[in-house]
């Protein structure tokens, strides 16, 4: 009497296990995600105005562009395979998908932070050296943490000379209003908010390390290899929007206005954020940046920082654990474990007008 019940349950369990989904290779439907940030708002416009659809149609595919509200979660979802592409910074691309064994390609190196990230201390006339012995609130292990480490390098201080307190980006503005918080490192739009308070000093910002905090559209390498149409459609859509933004025309202003609204600010506020974001306006500018010998050097610094903070995983023996590949066949790190690639191929097509 009891046995049939048990075996039925077991059978149901096994059936459930066996029916887990498996992956398919060739496809026509793609999912990419992005999160709100000044440099990524063109994706919102491209999606809302059907520009992505138009380019996808040209290459006979479908691309669904989804906005996620949580930045880290969006990268985790991409790494887990829920999305074929996702917007992220160079450091997070190295430490989350690449360190997680998901071979990823930076399809579009869309901008670098040129003042969008900064360190603010309460009080007038402060300098980076004043950080010694202070508590600094920031999102630990993020680009803010990297910026702080680079700022400390500039005055020969080390991280152990101060105390880092992990604070969520959503609450950092409120935290700065409390007496206990003396210094923060954060990014826009929170940075603009905090800088605007009376009696504070911005002692360091990302314009002092230009080209080191890079924002990109990262795509799964295997998916891109199997489906070049995805790379072509995304690249085409991107440059169409960016060209429109820089066109100084009425349509360009309307596009900026649209993006400003979508990012929860007004046109003036959005333009102020764009001013500290070095957006590559033409395919040629982006190509030059990706081809430059500075990029591998920057990534060396980033992987050094990531290794010191244990971000490359427990198996990593040194900062070269994860291989990176750049333009002109330049590689860094373990050549047998290439997981992060900067591929100028699609930007080159845009430069040559072959899209």
């Amino acid at each position: 009497m009891r046995k049939p019940l048990l075996s039925a349950l077991l059978a149901a369990g096994i059936a459930l296990l066996v029916s887990l989904p498996s992956n398919a290779a060739a496809k026509t439907d793609f999912n990419v995600c992005w999160t709100i940030y000044a440099g990524w708002m063109p994706w919102e416009y491209a999606q809302a105005q059907g520009i992505v659809d138009k380019w996808a149609k040209k290459y006979g595919i479908h691309i669904k562009v989804t906005q996620l509200n949580d930045y880290v979660e969006s990268i985790n979802q991409y790494t887990a395979g829920q999305f074929d592409g996702c917007t992220m910074t160079n450091m997070d691309a190295l430490t989350i998908p690449a360190a997680g064994g998901v071979d990823s390609t930076a399809l579009l190196v869309s901008d670098f932070s040129n003042g969008n990230d900064g360190i603010v201390i309460k009080g007038n006339g402060k300098t980076v050296a004043d950080l010694k012995g202070m508590n600094v609130n920031l999102v630990e292990l993020s680009v803010s943490h990297y910026l702080l480490a680079r700022a400390l390098d500039s005055v020969d201080l080390q991280e152990k000379d101060l105390k880092v307190i992990n604070t969520s980006d959503a609450d950092i503005s409120a935290a700065f209003n409390t007496d206990a918080v003396q210094a923060v490192t954060t990014w826009n739009p929170m940075l603009a908010d905090i800088k605007a308070k009376p009696g504070v000093t911005e002692v360091f910002d990302s314009s002092k390390i230009p080209g080191e905090i890079i924002d990109m559209m990262v795509v799964n390498t295997q998916t891109l290899k199997d489906n070049p149409a995805l790379g072509k459609a995304l690249t085409g859509a991107w440059f169409e929007v960016v060209a429109l933004m820089g066109s100084q025309s009425a349509a360009g202003e309307a596009a900026l206005e649209h993006m400003a609204k979508a990012s929860g600010t007004d046109l003036a506020g959005f333009k102020a954020q764009l001013a500290t974001t070095q957006l590559f306006r033409t395919p040629q500018q982006m190509l030059d940046f990706v081809n430059s010998p500075e990029l591998p050097k920057t990534m060396d610094k980033v992987s050094g920082f990531s290794f010191e903070h244990g971000l490359l995983g427990q198996a990593a023996k040194d900062s070269s654990a994860i291989g990176m590949r750049f333009a002109h066949e330049v590689t860094r790190g373990d050549k047998g474990n290439l997981k992060l690639r900067f591929d100028p191929g699609y930007v080159q097509m845009a430069v040559d007008g072959k899209l």
């Binding site: 997680g100 105390k163 992990n166 604070t167 971000l311």
Partner: protein, 271 residues
């Protein structure tokens, strides 16, 4: 025989208890093995070996940067916050509950206030809590206190009202003052109920603790989970989740045993 009348014997019961856990573990390790076969560096569903390594690293080897044992430091910080939070909530909740439930003059203003306060979602007023209590230990403990005290107080108020009126009248005819009545009749009746209420709010207390640690902290179990989430270190997160579950279960079991030992009459009186 009707299904409702069929009872499992001892070995079958044991098997049925283990079965859902075994199925869950099976499903997990099957999925994990499948993902790791595709990509040996996959971080989403780590294998048992990877998690054991992570536990060894977090719990039994010195941290390179701070020189401490991370898991135990996190556990100590979190348990201290939780204990202070629960302790303060229990005392305040008990006082408010007794005052509102036995003394009509206190009950009139307190009851509606407690009802309203218990409806305020504490996580929604976090920025206010930061400004009032700062970002240190105080705000973390206060989040727990604000989150669970109104619930405890409301429950105890209700229990105090349920004490038979005859009992209170009898005590008064025997010459008890209000103070003596509260101390000798109401309080002993409510103490076991307080322990049971505490068991019920343990889950909420953990939730608030982890939320507080995720927002601004330098140690704690919630802090660690949200920190390593930044690089998808599920090999650390999953053992931490199991550890938190175990701690919560142990606390629940401890409170249950305490109720049984300290107030043996309570369960007897109900059955």
């Amino acid at each position: 025989m009707h299904l409702i009348n069929r009872h499992p014997d001892r070995p079958t019961r044991l098997l049925l208890v283990i079965l859902p856990f075994a199925l869950l573990l099976c499903a997990y390790f099957f999925g994990s093995a499948q993902r790791l076969a595709d990509n040996p560096n996959d971080k989403l569903l780590p294998s048992a070996v990877q998690m054991t390594d992570a536990v060894k690293r977090m719990a039994f080897s010195e941290d390179k940067r701070s020189g401490g044992y991370v898991l135990w430091q996190d556990t100590a910080s979190s348990l201290r916050r939780l204990a202070i939070g629960l302790g303060v909530s229990a005392v305040v909740g008990l006082c408010l509950g007794i005052a509102a439930g036995t003394l009509p003059l206190f009950g009139a203003p307190l009851s509606p206030l407690l009802v309203v306060l218990s409806m305020v979602p504490p996580l929604a007023i976090l920025p206010i809590l930061f400004i009032v209590f700062g970002l240190g230990e105080l705000s973390k403990v206060m989040l727990i206190v604000i989150g669970i005290t109104p619930i405890l107080a409301r429950d105890l108020e209700q229990r105090a009202r349920e004490i038979p009126v005859e009992l209170l009248i009898k005590a008064q005819t025997l010459g008890a003052s209000t103070w003596a009545l509260i101390l000798r009749v109401v309080l002993p009746q409510l103490l076991p109920r307080l322990l049971i209420s505490l068991r019920l709010v343990l889950g909420s207390a953990w939730l608030f603790l982890i939320a507080a640690e995720a927002i601004a902290s330098e140690d704690g179990l919630g802090y660690r989970i949200f920190l390593v989430r930044r690089y998808l270190a599920m090999d650390v997160i999953l053992p931490y989740v199991v550890w938190i579950t175990l701690l919560a279960w142990l606390m629940d079991w401890g409170l249950k045993q305490l109720t049984r030992r300290a107030f043996p009459w309570y369960e007897g009186a109900r059955s």
